[in-house]
């Protein structure tokens, strides 16, 4: 199948195209240099064209998301649309059903999304849901931060066995990267406790979060994985936690990246850039965190932007969720996973007139505006913790228009003036920078730049066309038009197929599931497996033979090879 997109106002930061009119040739799911005359032509008519959106952190599939659905029939009934000839029925707003996940991302021009966290023991469930999410390519980050094997090998300072365990864990869970959530805290939540900082010792395992973070970074680079360690810092959601975040980011200097990307990605920084000591003196420290990012070249982050209205917080940070539920008098689900991690799900409603919420909202935007290089601050809402992903266009419009920000600031609690720097920030991001934060940057952070996030020859033919002419619009003034254009793509093309036209889904092919097959020396694997076999014999409640995700659960795999190479430890 051949396709030719003409007269496209292309923003492709990776290939240095900054809005100039170009043609894009597509043949059999790939971008090529030219096509035959038989190609179907789409005349973009000068409209904005970018690579398909890439989302590096979104809770779209697995046990947590499904607990959210079971807890919130009131959410499921709020986003219902009946089935059509092409689409299955859709439900939900903060926790959509699997079909709505695929359709709604595609309608926004997104074509690749990564589930933010899966425990290995529950990965089969994650993949069952990924298998039913239509259109988008996808993958899942596997939790390692509180796993008993991780902590044992970190204590033994045995990086070979830890690297073997991470490689095996990615195979067992068909995972894409290493996720580290409130390291050590998941284990302590097993008895209702938590770590308070990166130097606390985890009882029964005699390791600290610092050692866990550094060790996981080392083995991540030893294995030359496409993505870096994806870190959810300790102390999330507590006033004054910016100090823990800074101390955690410091650790990035202890390991050198094995590829041309960051060595640490710190996720949903909105929840980890908090100053003050309590809810009374709570304030933003986004500037300090942004400054740290600006001064380092081996760390990236993502916003976790908050959207006012209904949201559902879900995270492996079990202790945080218990505290949240108690604070909010909200319904609370908890999901400890034996030998691996914790999790919690709590609905929340963000209100403009609540000072803490208004400050949180401002922190997310400050992070994006104060971090100079957009490659270092990806656009996410930590869906659905900050808010549902369908609101990305709201975030884009806010970042591109100070006028919109000032209008919004008038409607929120005035604490944003005293407790954040947002009102004084007049930076307005352009289409190029937005393309970095939503495509190029995310693909680079994930280590997928060879095929994703850009429109050069050889890239996957994932393309989105938006109904705005970049040279005839002033995003600062016409921010409403920016918002509506980015919320509903004129065209979304996935793997060379037109899947969305004028915001309507026209085709629902199944995307591929990315996972990483990392090879380690045989004897390291065998040595590590001795420990794993013992743990299954004594402590797991299922047999080892029934633990690993089978092939039947990844029907369209995209396997990325990786493997152990010696890494410089400075």
């Amino acid at each position: 199948m051949e396709l030719l997109i003409k007269n496209a106002a292309v923003f492709d930061p990776v290939n240095g195209i900054n809005g100039d009119k170009t043609d894009i040739s597509i043949k059999d799911a790939k971008i090529v240099s030219k096509v035959s005359s038989k190609a179907t032509v789409i005349d973009a008519g000068g409209k904005l064209v970018m690579a398909g959106g890439v989302d590096a952190h979104s809770h779209i599939a697995g046990a947590k998301v499904n607990v959210g659905r079971m807890m919130r029939p009131e959410d499921s009934r709020s986003g219902i649309s009946p089935r059509t000839k092409i689409t299955r029925p859709c439900t939900g707003y903060t926790v959509p059903n699997v079909y709505a996940m695929g359709y709604r991302y595609a309608q926004m021009g997104y074509t690749t999304v990564f589930e933010a966290a899966q425990a290995i023991m529950k990965a089969r469930h994650t993949h069952e849901e990924l298998e039913e999410i239509p259109i988008i390519d996808k993958g899942a980050l596997t939790l390692f931060g509180s796993n008993w094997p991780t902590m044992d090998f970190v204590r033994e300072k045995n990086m070979d066995k830890l690297a073997a365990y991470v490689a095996w864990g990615l195979l067992a869970s068909r995972g894409f990267g290493v996720k580290c959530v409130n390291p050590g805290g998941g284990e302590m939540w097993g008895f209702g406790k938590n770590v308070t900082g990166i130097d606390d010792v985890v009882p029964g395992f005699d390791v600290t979060p610092k050692e866990i973070i550094v060790s996981l970074m080392k083995v991540n680079e030893m294995l030359c994985l496409p993505h870096s360690v994806h870190l959810h810092c300790n102390n999330l959601g507590n006033p004054g936690n910016y100090k823990t975040t800074l101390a955690s980011m410091e650790l990035a200097n202890q390991v050198k990246a094995s590829k041309d990307r960051q060595v640490m990605h710190v996720t949903h920084l909105l929840f980890n850039s908090w100053g003050g000591t309590n809810w009374g003196d709570f304030e933003s420290k986004a500037d300090v965190i942004a400054n740290c990012l600006n001064n380092s070249d081996n760390i990236t982050g993502d916003m976790g932007q908050m959207i006012f209205g209904s949201a559902t917080t879900m995270t492996a940070d079990g202790p945080k969720q218990y505290a949240n539920a108690k604070l909010l008098h909200a319904k609370w689900s908890n999901g400890d996973v034996e030998l691996e991690d914790a999790s919690g799900v709590v609905p929340i409603y963000y209100v403009k007139q609540i000072s803490v919420h208004a400050i949180m909202w401002a922190i997310g935007l400050e992070l994006a505006l104060l971090t100079k290089d957009p490659y270092k601050m990806l656009l996410t809402t930590d869906h659905p913790n900050g808010g549902p992903f369908v609101n990305y266009s709201e975030v884009i419009a806010l970042l591109m228009s100070n006028k919109k920000r000032q209008e919004e600031i008038k409607t929120v609690h005035e604490a944003v003036h005293a407790k954040t720097k947002l009102p004084g920030l007049d930076r307005e991001l352009d289409f190029n920078e937005i393309a970095i934060m939503t495509r190029a940057g995310t693909a680079r952070v994930l280590g997928l730049l060879d095929t994703k996030g850009h429109l050069g020859v050889g890239a996957d033919a994932d393309i989105s066309i938006y109904d705005i002419k970049p040279d005839q619009i002033d995003p600062s003034i016409e921010h409403a038009k920016i918002k509506s254009a980015f919320s509903s793509a004129a065209y979304t093309i996935k793997g060379g197929n037109i899947v969305v036209k004028e915001g309507q889904v026209t085709a629902t092919p199944l995307g591929r599931t990315y996972w990483v097959d990392a090879k380690v020396p045989r004897q390291n694997h065998d040595e590590m497996m001795k420990d794993i076999v013992r743990k299954f014999k004594n402590y797991y409640s299922i047999q080892l033979a029934n633990y690993m995700v089978q092939d039947e659960y990844v029907s369209h795999p995209q396997v990325i090879k990786a493997g152990a190479i010696p890494v410089e430890v400075n």
């Binding site: 079971m70 009934r77 089969r124 008895f191 209702g192 908890n334």
Partner: protein, 432 residues
Amino acid sequence: MTVITDALCPFCGCVCDDLTIYVENNKITNIKNACKLGASKIMGHHRIEAPMMRADKKSGFKEVSYEEAINEAAQILFKSKRPLMYGWASALCEVHKKGILLAEEVGAIIDNTATVCHAPSTLAVHEKGLPTATLGQIKNRSDIIVFWGSNPVHAHPRHMGRYSVFAKGFFQEKGRKGRKVIVVDVRKTETAAMADEFVQVQQGSDYLVISALRAILSGHADVVLGSVGGVPKEQLVKLVDTLKAAKFGSIFFGMGLTQSISRYKNIDNAISLITELNAFTKYVISPMRGHYNVTGFGQVCSWETGFATAVDFARGAPYYNPGETAANDVLMRKETDAAMIIAGDAGAHFPADSVRHLARIPVVQIDPYWNPTTEVSNVVIPVAICGVEVEGTAYRMDGVSLRMRKMVEPTLPTDVEVLERITERVRELRGE
């Protein structure tokens, strides 16, 4: 002879996965590690051999081809204005996905056996959430275990050995000796007989007893006057102190709470008790799910339709409201004009009024075994046995997803094949 190790049991919510199955020329000859329930199902029983049909319920069945039976099933569902598709719990998740698609196509209500089992627990989760953990967390850490309105000796025979009371774990090396077991029930069951403490409550008073415990826990013992639900106040106060002293407490609950007066509020109250106990120490609560894959239907139905049970597709989009859209709701109102009963036995497990209505409408049964539902069916389509002859996904009572093994080759079509062919036929009837 082939030997299958680490095989999974397709009977109850424990889904024990350490069975050894011995097979000789496609026959299971011996099983190791299964309890009486698992062994009975895996060793197998008399099966319906071929599809059969009859026009009226009183006459005998006539053997027919799969083609005829499937066509008749499709006709019944296609013509129906208010079809019910019930059962699912003894089938694999792959079957559930086909069932939900077919329910969408014919505008049916789809509901599973949880409607007479743990559906009230789902309603409780809507109100309070569910603070729980995988069974291994309890095995490794729990020092206080409570069975409330649940009788695992009879319903989940290996639960106490593999996951709770007797299981040895990382922080619980001594197993039974390191644990305090409390049973709360209206009668002294065999499970109560082996407990350290048996709290006997009057039938139907669980809601009041739980509220009393919560009042005492929150420092308001003064409002609890005299005994509650037949339990003296002193015993309640002592019980709260015992619970608070745990390092990791876990409460397992069953039909004693879900089927008694106050229904889902019994569980939602127990969940609040657990949440409030977490202010003192670590506590989790976990439902003792009956069928090996009733949990699986709730998971698949939630990610596909946004709701876990009782989903009404009449208007082309999922509508959920137990009390209005659950199987016995519509049967009691005599609204259903056709039903498909698959991998579940409404004839045996529904109240008489519901079965009486099933006896008056066209019923399609898809099941390996002859049972009371067969007695009220018009079209009967026998299928292979999930988890024995067909491999696929099931979800354990604690929500852990597992893949069931194929132990022997099937001799009959699978649920998936039958449902796919019915769906195709419905589309043909609709002229697609």
